[in-house]
């Protein structure tokens, strides 16, 4: 599975501290929160840094497909909403990097791992946004899937992560409504607008279902994460919940979900869905999606082109501090 974004997590704790472990186990058993100063197993810390930094990277890379349409948004109202949304994603990235930093990994190190291609981010952002309706489909499907994934994380055992997720989920649900509203407006519009909306749903539906990760029997990190109360529901359970939520919403929109096998199963009370193309998922995960190279190059260019600005700010801050010291 994913390589840790940070090769060396500073693990100051001794991994066989019996008192610390007993306390940790007690907190987990009581479903309480682990805080930064608590003892924690090195593997728990490493797992969290992996998950939180991947999540942060996903927010940052996820800005690109939507930023692609800011300049062309078809009304000033839509432009303002889209700008605010992409700005929120930068904010989410910041909260998450801060949460990961409480585990002892500096933001620069995580950023460097991302631009070096050593860190993972959600594969969904390796798909292109080919039309305006993609802004609707991303909001409705991608943010919708993200919410299903993230709401349970508001109860994750690591305090700073859980608290960051509370803030993020509030904003995500606003984004999802906006996405739905974009599609709704298009579906009430001209034939060209309706076709645009259906085309976007056709392209984003299956990738959004794959956002929950591989089927349970193939998910490497899931079991341990569930034991540690980081993850609360399995990939397949969350995916099912998402499909059940989408079907009536698709009907309200008047769009067709592109799955000929989709049918209501009386026995389970859930919507059964067709086989997903996990080969496609592995291809994108392996770097061979439509935009992997482009997304990383964009992030690397921003990071490298901005280096002189960050250096100037750091040099100025040092000079100010020196001057203040001399004056004192």
């Amino acid at each position: 599975m994913a390589q840790s974004p940070t090769a060396q997590v500073p693990t100051t704790e001794i991994d066989d501290d019996p008192d610390g472990r007993a306390r940790f186990d007690e907190l987990i058993a009581a479903d309480s929160r682990i805080e930064p100063r608590d003892w924690m197993p090195a593997a728990y810390r490493k797992n969290l840094v992996r998950q939180i930094s991947q999540h942060a990277h996903s927010e940052i890379i996820g800005m690109q497909p939507e930023a692609n349409w800011i300049s062309r948004a078809p009304s000033l109202k839509r432009k303002a909403i889209l700008m605010a949304k992409v700005q929120d994603e930068a904010g989410h990235g910041l909260y998450l990097y801060s949460a990961a930093q409480t585990l002892g990994t500096p933001r620069d190190e995580m950023f460097q791992a991302l631009v070096d291609g050593r860190a993972r981010y959600s594969s969904i952002f390796n798909y292109p946004t080919l039309g305006w309706a993609d802004m609707g489909a991303i909001g409705w499907l991608v943010d919708g899937a993200a919410i299903c994934n993230q709401v349970p994380l508001c109860r994750a055992s690591y305090g700073p992560y859980a608290r960051a997720m509370v803030r993020i989920c509030k904003e995500e649900s606003f984004h999802q409504r906006q996405g739905f509203e974009i599609l709704l407006e298009l579906m009430h519009g001209t034939p060209a607008q309706r076709a645009m909306a259906q085309d976007a749903v056709d392209r984003w539906y299956a990738p959004s279902l794959m956002m929950f990760g591989p089927p349970d029997e193939e998910s490497v990190n899931s079991q341990q994460s569930m034991a540690w109360n980081i993850k609360r529901f399995s990939n397949d359970d969350l995916r099912q919940r998402f499909v059940d939520m989408l079907v009536p919403q698709a009907e309200a929109l008047g769009v067709t979900l592109p799955d000929p096998d989709l049918r209501f199963d009386e026995a389970t009370g859930h919507w059964a869905y067709g086989e997903l193309d996990w080969h496609e998922f592995q291809e994108v995960l392996g770097g061979r999606g439509p935009c992997n190279t482009q997304r990383l190059a964009h992030r690397r260019a921003a990071f490298e082109d901005g280096a002189w600005v960050r250096e100037a700010a750091a040099a100025y801050a040092r000079k100010q501090a020196d001057a203040a010291e001399q004056a004192a």
Partner: protein, 274 residues
């Protein structure tokens, strides 16, 4: 109107000036006041369009957020100003933003200069922010109640923009040799267009008490910029070198491309709503 929590500044519904602006929005603008509102609205719209490019490309995440914030404020000002301008002849903010051609735009050429590197964007933004702080401070006394109300709201926001740009000007001027060199290059490219902001046009003679005469903003602008330049040891280039003409619809080569991108989708679907 619906305000979208948690985006206090974002107007989600079609802009209703009467709701948005306390104390204004009832009376239609006169043709001359509308023309003046286009000057200011187009400055804000074109700047917002330029700044929007930085979202996902900033030198650090905090700057992605700050530039997005400024762009959102300016877009809000543009929407108010264009909506007000549109009351003169029954056009909406979107009619004006998407369906006017290049020569009908009234932004100053400074607004449409390319983003360049961060120093270019910063210098352009600083000049506008210092100008707009003085402008909106005075425009609050306009006898056009809507313009006065828009100015009252904008004044608080542009004060933050000025603070942001001023602080970055100091960092670039006094940070590293490289940042200072880049700042000087940016000033050389951008500053010649600054003087155009302060030119009085015949329109102003018909807007006594309604508009702020640009020439009267020159002294406070020069004073603020002079102080910052002295503090940082930077020599500002000649601000009156470029020929200008944006208020008459004469633009640089950059505006056509900028508008092509801004308008392409809306124009592909005439009559559609979004």
């Amino acid at each position: 109107m619906t305000r979208a929590d948690p985006h206090g500044e974002v107007i989600v519904d079609r802009l209703s000036l009467a709701d948005e602006i306390v104390g204004g929005g009832e009376e239609a603008a006169t043709a001359d006041a509308a023309e003046y509102a286009l000057w200011l609205g187009d400055d804000a719209l074109v700047l917002a369009q330029c700044l929007g490019w930085w979202i996902s490309r900033g030198p650090e995440l905090e700057e992605d957020m700050a530039l997005a914030n400024i762009a959102l404020d300016l877009l809000g000002h543009a929407r108010s100003l264009l909506s007000h301008a549109g009351t003169a002849d029954g056009r909406t903010e979107d009619d004006l933003a998407y369906w006017r051609d290049e020569r009908e735009f009234r932004c100053a050429q400074l607004a449409e200069l390319p983003n360049g590197d961060y120093a270019h964007t910063l210098v352009r933004q600083l000049a506008f922010a210092v100008f707009q702080v003085e402008l909106y401070d005075r425009l609050q006394e306009s006898s056009d109640a809507t313009l006065a109300a828009i100015a009252a709201k904008a004044a608080k926001e542009v004060a933050y923009h000025r603070e942001h740009s001023t602080e970055w000007f100091r960092r670039l001027a006094l940070g590293t040799d490289d940042s200072r060199r880049r700042l000087l290059t940016a000033l050389e490219h951008v500053w010649p267009y600054v003087g155009d902001l302060f030119r009085d046009e015949p329109l102003l003679d018909r807007l006594e008490g309604v508009a702020v005469r640009p020439s009267t903003l020159r002294a406070p602008f020069d004073q603020a910029m002079g102080a910052l330049a002295a503090e940082t040891g930077i020599e500002l280039p000649d601000p009156d070198l470029a020929r200008g003409g944006g208020r008459h619809g004469i633009h640089t080569e950059h505006l056509g491309l900028l508008l092509a991108e801004l308008q392409v989708l809306a124009r592909a679907h005439p009559g559609a709503t979004w």
